[in-house]
Symmetry: C2
Subunit: 269 residues, 2 copies
């Protein structure tokens, strides 16, 4: 099978023009089929502030109300997506921007009202947030076979006319899962650290390889805790669904991450 | 050759939720390959006002400065394009949104500074406005062959990383020109009137068919004047470049326009 790299970049890269340019240079140089999934960054918040729209937070989570959905649609699918596409085109990379609505690439449903607000015990309605149902792998494969480089904004739809805000990490994982039967898939989650660290204070203490057994040990020793646990649980879930490997590290080190010379690689055994 | 309908809708449809829904019902029902090109509507102006960005006008023309380009990119390629795509998906129409930057579909260059401001004689810099250089017909044909319905926002790029604001009428015309060697193309320009009228005050006085000879007569008799002349000149230019027919009329009457039962059809002979 052909290799396919699916790379998710976070807001810290998108918010910084110089970091984004350096990342896109590295991304354009990646050989073979590839997909970029971008998050939002601070631009959406800035835009909402500029328009005087107050962000609703419940239990520290942002609620995607109708006004927020409008903002994220225009900022993620408009501003950020199209600028990244144009910047990649300038680097000789035939990029093409997509949301889940385009060509029905990613179908989702509005998340059901969750129970269990920790403070009040009341149910939480996250608003226009989408949980993914399916990825049209045949359609995306045909675009990749035509040497298009896909750039996904974290927006999906429900097939009934409603756009939905969907977590970019989840989109990357669902794309990797959906395309793993046609490609040998590597999934890269870039974040602000060099990888999973033995010592959270020491950027040089990157654990280069984690398999399920080692993961259990690291959790027991409390080397891995809090926010890293859902990230790694997702990584192992991706591997179980057929993804070849998952790499966690710094976007600026993309080439080294893909070559296994940097970051943390999550493996099945 | 397979027929292809390229339909341009203007701001008056986009700004009116009920009109847009009725138009999208009609568009979804059009048989065969099709492309929708949408303009902007008042949302971009509203958004600029909301963010306190002043629109620059020179000689009554809007100048696309850097701030305006940001607004039109997010509103046209984000809000409007993705909502239309989601609404078409809900109508069983496998729509896919594109700008000229996506897959390098439409390459343009920034318009050179025009000379001849009528009042001052000074040169006019229209800002980030793109004049079209080329359309990637092979790429668009392959998407159409995969039964995708293309929805174009009026944004192009220069291949050097710069997005550009491009007139939606021009995009529709360039797409029709570029695709006419592969398809039997009908180009529909929808606007606020029922077609080209014998009497501007009488919506029932639609001229159903205009060929070049009749066009000259209508101009001499001053039935056609002012703003209709560039529209019709463009229509005849499209016919000369291989487009099968050009139809001008009301978007709400789309089916009848395509069937030749409504609006004005511009023909070569």
């Amino acid at each position: 099978m052909n290799p396919l790299s699916i790379i998710k970049i976070g807001g810290n890269i998108i918010d910084d023009e110089a970091k984004l340019a350096a990342f896109l240079d590295a991304f354009a140089a990646v050989k073979g089929k590839k997909i970029l999934v971008h998050g939002g960054g601070k631009l959406a918040t800035k835009m909402a502030d500029g328009l005087g729209i107050r962000q609703q937070l419940v239990d520290g989570r942002r609620i995607t109300d109708a006004e927020t959905l409008k903002i994220v649609t225009m900022v993620y699918a408009g501003t950020i997506n199209k600028n990244i596409v144009a910047l990649l085109q300038a680097r000789g990379c035939n990029a093409m921007g997509l949301t889940g609505a385009d060509g029905n690439a990613i179908l989702a449903h509005k998340r059901g009202t969750a129970s269990g607000n920790s403070a009040t015990g009341q149910a939480i309605d996250y608003g226009y947030v989408g949980d993914v149902d399916s990825v049209d792998a045949a359609f995306l494969t045909s675009l990749l076979q035509q040497d298009k480089v896909l750039v996904f904004a974290p927006i999906t739809h429900d097939g009934k006319g409603q756009l939905l805000n969907t977590n970019a990490d989840t989109i990357a994982q669902e794309l990797a899962r959906g395309l793993s039967s046609s490609f040998e898939t590597s999934l890269v989650y870039s974040f602000e650290k060099s990888g999973v660290l033995m010592n959270a204070e020491d950027e040089s203490s990157v654990i280069s390889r984690i398999n399920p057994t080692y993961y259990e040990e690291l959790k027991q020793q409390q080397v891995i805790f809090a926010g890293m646990i859902p990230k790694l649980d997702n990584a192992f879930a991706a591997l179980k669904s057929g993804v070849g490997k998952v790499i966690i590290g710094r976007a600026e080190e993309l080439q080294q991450l893909l070559a296994g010379g940097s970051g943390t690689t999550i493996v099945h055994d």
